[in-house]
């Protein structure tokens, strides 16, 4: 029985439970809803939720846990001598899974009987031929231990699946029956259902948090693997980024960090003044009609995919800068050799961040109470003096928070720098040179044919984790500042 059927049966049970619970409650009150503790539908929801929720929870946990148990048991029965030189248990296990899937497919398509598939002493050559004829994909020659392990894998998986279906259905029926029996006009169905909904909301919130924890942990484990293969001193304090897939790489984060921070700095130098001035205009000077048009227009910028900004940088901004600063350019200075440069990426990223800064700052400036403006105007200050001496200082902590949030976006930005910044890792203060960032190096280390056992690949996780910690720190700092500012007018 496929998973979708199981889910459909569960849903059907819930629907039946809803109507059964509802009518039982009504019957217990003699058909008069006023005698019920709760509205009739609450009794229905109670039965439906009791059937659905425990069953689904068990189903999800089972689906997550079963493969782990099967994997560890099966990998335990593979003898050490069955693992050839240059391979490892993980690779053999993937072969085992492939064979198991092949057997499953062959049985399903009728190329093989169930008994043949389970025959542990079957002739390997005939079996391989049968499987290949049945169109199953095999990459390696099947050996006896692999076959045995694959058969064990199949049998455990199918037993587990049947057991799961039985347990889940039994749980659904039990839950429904329990709730149905409890349904009576005195039963506080409304409170129970609301508790249940509360639990669901809590679950949704914790999934978001647990995912973050999961991301951090998975990065952390890979990073630890990396540091076993490569010295942490070189990673944090080295000065060269020179990955070499034949070994002997120098993998230092510092040149990449420098490129990241340099490009982000240029982006902020573009975005903060423009965004802030736009916000001041929109919140203080623009009439209602102008604001209604200009604000959404500005925010359209925020909706443009960053790859499009990358194209803009590559095709428009870069060549324009070269024609200005390059050899034989308008300024005749010859500083810029290629359109891939820190300046190109920084400018375009700055444009991308303008709506981010302006929208947040606009909200913050609007949150400054009108009484501040009245107070300043009432003392004979002009509008611009009021903005400069009262509103901006009052909004400053919030604006700083907005800038920090923009900075953490700039640091984590990938597509623009991939397309516009170049790929050379170096320490240089020249904005017309190509440089590279942490994010682009993660992309380049993980694209193409990769071997997840070499430090050249695993370094991507160490880079990602460092990046994550930097932006997380910035975000926490920004939120702290924004929150502190909110308390100020109380």
């Amino acid at each position: 029985m496929a998973l979708s059927w199981l889910l459909l049966i569960l849903l059907a049970l819930a629907v039946i439970g809803y109507f059964a619970g509802r009518s039982r409650a009504l019957a217990s009150a003699g058909g008069d809803t006023r005698d019920l503790h709760s509205l009739p539908s609450y009794y229905g929801y109670n039965v439906a939720l009791s059937a659905l929720v425990p069953a689904l929870v068990v189903l999800i946990i089972w689906l997550l846990v079963q493969p782990m148990i099967v994997n560890s048991t099966v990998s335990g029965i593979i003898p050490d001598q069955a693992i050839p030189e240059g391979s490892n248990r993980g690779l053999i296990m993937s072969e085992v899974r492939r064979v198991a899937n092949g057997l499953e497919g062959a049985v399903a398509s009728g190329a093989m009987t169930e008994a043949q598939a389970q025959d542990g002493s079957a002739d390997i050559e005939t079996l391989t031929k049968t499987l290949k004829d049945a169109g199953q994909v095999l990459t390696q020659d099947i050996t006896q231990p692999i076959l045995v392990a694959a058969q064990k894998f199949r049998s455990m998986t199918s037993t587990g699946t049947v057991a799961m279906q039985v347990v889940v259905l039994a749980l659904a029926l039990l839950g429904a029956a329990f709730a149905y029996v409890r349904t009576h006009k005195e039963f506080r169905a409304r409170n129970v259902v609301e508790q249940g909904v509360l639990a669901l909301l809590l679950l949704a919130a914790s999934i978001a948090i647990l995912t973050t924890v999961g991301i951090v942990l998975s990065m952390l484990f890979e990073t630890m693997n990396f540091f076993q293969l490569h010295s942490w001193k070189d990673f944090f304090f080295g000065s060269t980024w020179a990955p070499n897939f034949r070994g002997g790489s120098e993998l230092s984060i510092l040149p990449l960090l420098w490129g990241t921070l340099y490009i982000s700095l240029i982006a902020l130098l573009v975005a903060v003044p423009i965004g802030l001035f736009a916000a001041i205009y929109l919140s203080e000077y623009a009439s209602g009609a102008t604001r209604a048009i200009a604000k959404p227009l500005l925010e359209i910028l925020a909706g443009i995919p960053t790859i499009v900004y990358g194209l803009f940088a590559l095709l428009t901004v870069g060549p324009a800068l070269v024609s200005m600063f390059g050899q034989g350019g308008t300024l005749g200075v010859g500083w810029m050799a290629s359109s891939n440069a820190v300046l190109t990426a920084g400018l375009v990223m700055g444009i991308m961040l303008i709506p981010f800064v302006s929208s947040l700052s606009d909200d913050i400036i609007n949150a400054v109470p009108q009484s501040m403006r009245d107070g300043s105007l009432g003392l004979g200050a002009t509008h611009s003096e009021t903005v400069r001496s009262v509103i901006l200082p009052a909004a400053l902590p919030g604006i700083v928070g907005a800038v920090l949030l923009a900075a953490s976006r700039a640091i984590g930005e990938t597509m623009i720098v991939v397309m516009a910044a170049g790929a050379i890792a170096k320490f240089s203060g020249n904005p017309f040179e190509a440089m590279t960032t942490i994010t682009t190096r993660i992309v380049s280390q993980l694209t193409g044919d990769t071997d997840f056992a070499s430090p050249e690949t695993l370094v991507a996780f160490a880079l990602g984790l460092t990046l994550f910690i930097i932006t997380l720190g910035l975000n926490i700092f920004a939120l702290y500042i924004v929150r502190k500012y909110r308390e100020q007018y109380e």
Binding site: M372, D374, L377, G378, L379, G380, A381, A394
Partner: protein, 265 residues
């Protein structure tokens, strides 16, 4: 306490500070103030009383052109300050507001230090040549605002950290610091407790020796305690204007009497 006798009521023929003639105010289509004529004397506390929405605050905000900051608001008629029309094109509303200071309903100190709050006006108007002069203006204003003794040791502390009554007196000191000739107060005590209210009222009475004070209030007792002249507004009309003692004891208009005795409002 006998409210009627506390304030000395010898009203000499003082100079007219502000004269309003046939003032009309419109908010969009709404006719908020109709044909108001009033003469506000120098060195006198004038109270505007009336039920909510009667236009007393709107009229007050006409006197320093604060209504200019509201887009849909239009003012017609003449308002003369020392004989000059304040709505004349040559008058800069910014300069006017330095001469006609304003204190608002809710204390609104800037999120700056106490010193910087008071020094704000003198700084933007260039009233002090150097730091010493500025210090002097700040101290003098805080003294006149009757808050110097409470804050002299913590001038660098934020103004927002003071209590409500202290904040309001700080705002009054801030308004005084620009050396105004008229002080407008829009329900200055409505956000304060009785003790802070008493302190502010005492201060208003002292301010009378230097400034012309106009106060909008919901509290008739307050109007009776602090003012020499009272104007009663109702539905955008100035119903009655006269000496406070007379308005409260012997009003001419039946609407005034109804309001004072609590039948309308």
């Amino acid at each position: 306490m006998n409210d009627m006798t506390r304030v000395e009521r010898t009203v000499d023929s003082k100079a007219i500070k502000i004269a309003a003639k046939k003032v009309q105010v419109y908010y969009g289509e709404t006719h908020a103030i109709k044909d108001v004529d009033v003469e506000i004397e120098d060195k006198t506390v004038t109270a505007f009383i009336g039920p909510s929405g009667c236009g007393k605050s709107t009229f007050l905000r006409c006197l320093n052109r604060m209504n200019d900051t509201i887009d849909i608001c239009r003012v017609k008629g003449d308002i003369l300050l020392d004989g000059e029309d304040i709505y004349d094109k040559r008058v800069d509303p910014v300069q006017l507001r330095a001469k006609v200071g304003m204190v608002f309903q809710k204390p609104n100190p800037f999120p700056k230090s106490i010193y910087d709050n008071v020094a704000y006006g003198p700084r933007i108007h260039g009233l002090a040549k150097n730091k010493a002069e500025l210090d002097e203006i700040v101290e003098k204003s805080l003294r006149r605002g009757a808050i110097w003794d409470e804050v002299k040791d913590r001038l660098d502390a934020p103004g927002t950290g003071l209590s409500g009554g202290q904040q309001q007196r700080l705002c009054i000191a801030r308004a005084i610091a620009t050396a105004p000739e008229v002080l407008l107060m829009d329900e200055p005590c409505s956000a304060l407790d009785p003790i802070a209210t008493a302190q502010v009222e005492e201060l208003i009475d002292e301010l009378r020796s230097r400034y012309s004070v106009v106060i909008v209030t919901h509290s008739m007792q307050q109007a009776a305690r602090v003012s020499q002249k009272t104007a009663f507004f109702h539905l955008g009309n100035l119903v009655e204007f006269g000496e406070t003692g007379q308005i409260f004891t012997n009003p001419e208009d039946p609407r005034t009497e109804s309001y004072i005795t609590g039948r309308i409002g």
